[in-house]
């Protein structure tokens, strides 16, 4: 499947899942992921079922010129929605973790995919729930800038474009798209379906399934085997069935997780604060009257539900990136960027293994997670962190947890190893200016020193001018793609030597652990016993059958 393409027509196809169809016509490129089509009758939990027909509202008759016009119409009835959305991380991209004190959110963090949204808002803020964020001047208090439709469109005809023009090599991508019929979309709003959330969350990291490994387009219409809750032929859960919300504040953010929910069900209908398994299944979900069930309920105190019930990562036919190398980015053929697609995922779609704008990728699917003790806290390596390069790979986020802490449980993670650009003199991660129609943007000039200089200057941060590449690892908790109970990880996959939990310390794991010398002593004792018996029996037989015999031995 190896192929080489000129870069221009295929840039961002993966990123812009929704307009990929339009691009494909000009791309001469293997079929990209199509716009996610709505799935009917998704179960959104207690909010399911409406009391209003939006086609009947005068305010929604239009005509509307822009999305912001629709938002203003929405707010005439939903007059509290604006201030609610403005408090959500979907709007602020800014989050102060109350337990670690760290300032997180897409506005602040540097990860080991496309590294930083900051300075690249023109592109990245397509997934911001607002219109027009291109730089630091964006007005976060203007309710008309909220994008209601990206979450609430149920027609699949609404799409977003980059907020600013990128380099000339990217601009052509967004031409010839069908105009949006805003009135039609506005009259057909509803509770968010999987395809709404998936527009951004399935494409984290720059393409379908790239970042998470447990979130990709296969969850739009999953089978029961892939996801027992979201299965179209099963409960058909929308994301919001578990990611409950109150006042547009949605539970279950990765930035501050509940690793061990000891409250469980709570009072009927009361809990709106967590997206944990226990909030529906309780804290003792296995049969209490069976021996194995009893033991498993106890396991749940130390082992996250996900550890057994999500047996493998990326089982839906869509692969996920496990390794990324920025140091090879910028290679050109005849002065132009190019891409190679040497990996074909299970659903038949080829994936980039090299792309001039991003470097080399390695992919994997249907693979066993990495397991770590986790108490819900992640400590991030941020732009402020002085990096100890002796530690290799440098963790982009440190998973906190301790076997001696009852709040910690063993959780599954997807790990991504990336060589990211960094400043080896100042010993910091760097902001990279990837997107822009200026000559400093990497996606255009293919000059990392120039683009990083621009990115750091934009942030008023020092850059030594020396660019290195740092081996990093990031940890992504796995919590989606819950398999049917029959497919859960078997006891013996961990309770054996060199099993799934071989690297987990601080617990005695029957079947995995022993006492070394006691087991050796047992084997020695057994061997001596058998040898003694054999010797005794041999002498007995030899004397009895007079093979060796002296008459004076005869008993009197």
């Amino acid at each position: 499947m190896a192929s080489t393409h000129p870069i221009v027509p295929l840039l961002f196809i993966a990123t812009l899942g929704w307009n990929a169809t339009a691009i494909a016509a000009t791309a001469e490129h293997s079929a990209p992921a199509a716009k996610l089509q709505p799935v009917a009758d998704q179960n959104s939990g207690s909010l399911s079922g409406g009391t209003a027909d939006h086609t009947k509202f005068e305010a929604l008759k239009g005509p509307f010129q822009t999305g912001a016009d629709v938002t203003k119409a929405c707010l005439t009835c939903h007059n509290k929605a604006g201030e609610q959305v403005m408090k959500s991380v979907h709007w602020t991209w800014d989050y102060r973790n109350p337990r670690t004190g760290q300032l997180l959110g897409k506005k602040n963090v540097i990860n080991n995919f496309c590294t930083n949204a900051r300075g690249n808002e023109g592109m990245c803020a397509q997934c911001h729930a607002g219109y027009g964020w291109t730089d630091a001047t964006f007005d976060f208090t203007d309710q008309a800038r909220i994008d209601c439709l990206v979450c609430h469109d149920r027609t699949a005809t609404y799409y977003r474009l980059p907020n600013s023009r990128g380099s000339a090599i990217c601009g052509v991508l967004f031409e010839n798209l069908a105009p949006i019929d805003f009135a039609h979309v506005a009259q057909n709003v509803g509770l968010p379906g999987r395809e709404n959330c998936g527009t951004c969350h399935f494409n984290g990291g720059g393409g379908d399934g790239v970042k998470h490994g447990d979130l990709d387009s296969s969850l739009t219409r999953p089978s029961k085997a892939l996801d027992v809750h979201m299965a179209v032929a099963g409960p058909n859960f929308a994301c919001t069935q578990c990611h409950v919300s109150r006042h547009h504040q949605i539970a279950g953010s990765r930035y501050d997780m509940v690793a061990h929910d000891e409250t469980g069900l709570g009072k009927p209908g009361a809990r709106r604060d967590v997206a944990t398994c226990e909030s529906c299944h309780g804290t003792t979900p296995h049969p209490k009257l069976s021996l194995i069930g009893w033991q498993l309920n106890h396991h749940a105190e130390r082992v996250a539900c996900q550890t057994c019930h999500i047996p493998r990562i990326a089982r839906g036919g869509v692969a996920t990136v496990t390794d990324w190398d920025w140091s090879t980015a910028g290679r050109l053929i005849d002065g132009k960027g190019y891409a190679e697609e040497k990996y074909v995922q299970a659903d038949g779609t080829p994936r980039h293994t090299y792309w001039s704008i991003k470097g080399n990728f390695k992919w994997d699917e249907n693979f066993v997670p990495t397991y770590q003790w986790f108490d819900g806290r992640m400590v991030y390596t941020t732009a402020d962190t002085k990096i100890d390069a002796k530690q290799s790979p440098v963790p982009i986020n440190v998973v906190k947890g301790d076997p001696g802490d009852p709040n910690s449980r063993i959780w599954p993670f997807k790990q991504v190893r990336t060589k990211v650009p960094w400043d080896p003199v100042n010993k910091t991660l760097v902001f990279n200016h990837l997107w822009g129609d200026d000559d400093t943007a990497f996606w255009g000039n293919f000059d990392l020193v120039k683009s990083v200089s621009a990115g750091m200057k934009l942030e008023n941060r020092p850059f030594s001018g020396t660019l290195g590449f740092l081996d990093t690892v990031s940890n992504w908790p796995i919590t989606h793609m819950v398999a049917p109970k029959g497919d859960a990880v078997g006891c013996g996959e961990c309770h054996k030597p060199k099993g799934r939990l071989a690297a987990i310390t601080g617990v005695y794991l029957p079947g995995r652990d022993g006492f070394g010398w006691l087991d050796t002593l047992g084997i020695i004792a057994l061997s001596l016993t058998l040898a003694g018996i054999a010797a005794h029996a041999a002498i007995r037989l030899a004397l009895r059958f007079k093979i060796i015999w002296r008459p004076e031995w005869r008993p009197k």
Binding site: I292, C491, K496, Y508, P510, G522, R540
Partner: protein, 236 residues
Amino acid sequence: MEAEMSQASAVPPPGIPQPRRSVMIYTRYERFWHWSQAALIFILAVSGFAVHGSFTLMDFRTAVLIHSSAAVALIVLWIFTTFWHFTTTAWRHYLPDVRGLPAVIRFYVWGILVGAPHPYSKTLKRKQNALQSLAYLSFMVIIGPALWASGIIYLAYPLWGQWATGILGLPTVVFVHTAAADLMMIFVIIHIYMTTTGKTFTHYVKTMITGYDTIELTPAEAAYLEEEEVSRLAKS
């Protein structure tokens, strides 16, 4: 030798051979206990060492299920058997009697090799020789209790595990359980070998299956059996 024999068995007096009769010395319950216990111990050993990860004969879940069920069955059996021992006074057979010990040990080290007679004769009141009593006593009061006590604590880990996070609690319990299991294994292997040391290689096993062995009876014992428990005397 004669002196030693009389010292070991005490009854009958030396020089007066008593009539030998085939008598049921292992009652139906004793045989049921012995063989069901033997089967359970074998099942527990195989499943237990599978749980321990010593070999991969069965998957962990199956091993845990079999091991736990067999353990519960064995505990129930032991409760019944303890009750039986005290109600029938059979427990007296296990009282340690060190007087005969040297002769028995000497027999197994040398006498048995050259075809000397066993220094001990079973009697109705005392079915086991001194070494047997000592071995079975240690089996019943040391190895057995160490196994079932640590096993019950191990099995009940869900009830106390939350107060013993980390590596302190469970490893200690598992250590005791595994060490006792090692001792049990060695006991059973020697025990099985010893069954071949009777008059014939299979004599003791046959006795444990049929319950009958030929022993000397005092006139009083013979009279008692004729009168009260005639079913224990084999028709001759």
